[in-house]
Symmetry: C2
Subunit: 222 residues, 2 copies
DNA sequence: TCCTTTTTGTTGTAAAAACAACAGAAATGT
DNA sequence: ACATTTCTGTTGTTTTTACAACAAAAAGGA
């Protein structure tokens, strides 16, 4: 555990804490680190979530299999992100999504239930911790609304332009790399991959953008 | 303000507080109550949100006008809901949505910025308050994911069945009332209203469901 | 009550997307 | 370097959706 301290210290959920405080918190939370391999399921639909999961390394997709068998990618998570944090607060709420490890991952797991019951008053840093969680959830919330904006556009073209424009803004540059491969992007935007590829080609031809693999250049203001 | 105490006390954001604590908090937050009429814009795209808005009465839509002029309804909010709470935590983040009053509303407005700066340590109930906010955001988060599930279905029929099934589950009954009229539902599910009406008729004819106006009876397990 | 306005349902047509099948390119492993 | 697998792009066909225009029903006001 010790060897990960520096990494853990950098996660937003422990923002603004000293080494000593961090150590106390990890103890209080009965923290463990677990390794997952690409393809592993970290959280399954129906699970009751009572622990806090923090990605220290690797990549995790939050997905949902629709009733009719299609995959829906809700979000793609990386280092420092939390998995299903919103489910911790709503006790006894079943997860209605799956968390799938897509690149070998290192996950810090905190027993929030145990701690929040025991040390609500004792642990002086619990206040900072919950403030951090609030900020994290806020950010996630904004991102979910952004995703809704992306997939709410009426045509494949509009979805692509909205998504790419948002990515461009996030990177503060019209040259940027996207996190999805083509199939994943299609599953994220809820469109057919081949139709999407076709539309991307058209956009390139018409001079709206350029791309090679995951590297994109957006040439228009959207 | 006094005459609203009982109502305010029931909002989740003040959950678990005594009358005395509530009074202190409202003072600390420089609380005011503002009336809005149907059609009013409460929050406009681009606004920097520094206040907490709690709906005491009325109805508010969180909407977005797509670049191409279509309306997207993100969520419909009622009594006790917060408006754009996630934007308060992320300082200096512009709102990318509009909050439109759809039925005459009474909004409690709290100056969070002022308070959180001043009384972080002084106000002993700040802890409970932020815990409540965390819970509210969690719930909102789960609802946003549910909305993503609804609109991510591939056909109009699947969107309707998924949405209605989710509503049915929330009401714990296969007979329930929905909050949207037809045009609003279409804007929420991102589909054409007339095509949606047509699909609803077909579903009724095929015996999947029954409805009259906003009252629905779901006859199948989805 | 009757008239007006708003909401909901119906239909045909044009446009867009999904799907399937395949070709080419890139990545991976040996 | 070569073979194999995965990923991406292309095209034609079928299915679905959006759109427009209108009809019917419901709600609201005088």
């Amino acid at each position: 555990m010790q060897k990960y301290y520096q990494k853990i210290k950098k996660t937003p959920i422990f923002y603004d804490m000293t080494d000593f405080e961090l150590e106390k918190m990890l103890e209080c939370f009965k923290a463990v680190i677990k390794k997952y391999e690409a393809g592993d399921t970290i959280i399954r639909r129906g699970d009751i979530i009572t622990k806090i999961y923090v990605i220290l390394d690797g990549e995790v997709n939050i997905e949902k299999d629709s009733y009719w068998g299609r995959r829906i990618i809700i979000q793609k998570l990386h280092e420092n992100n939390n998995i299903a944090l919103s489910l911790v607060a709503s006790k006894n709420t079943e997860s209605n999504v799956n968390a799938i490890c897509t690149k070998d991952a290192l996950i810090l797991i905190l027993n929030y239930e145990k701690c929040s019951a025991m040390c609500q008053n004792a642990c002086i840093h619990h206040g900072a911790f919950i403030r951090n969680m609030f900020k994290i959830l806020s950010k996630e919330n904004i991102e979910l609304v952004e995703k809704i904006e992306n997939i709410s556009q009426k045509s494949i073209r509009d979805k692509l332009l909205t998504y790419l424009s948002n990515e461009s803004q996030k990177n503060k540059s019209n040259i940027f790399e996207i996190q999805f491969n083509r199939q994943e992007l299609a599953d994220y935007l809820n469109i057919d991959r081949s139709a999407m590829s076709f539309e991307l080609s058209k956009l390139k031809q018409e001079g709206y953008l350029d791309y090679k693999k995951n590297k994109f250049v957006l040439k228009v203001e959207v």
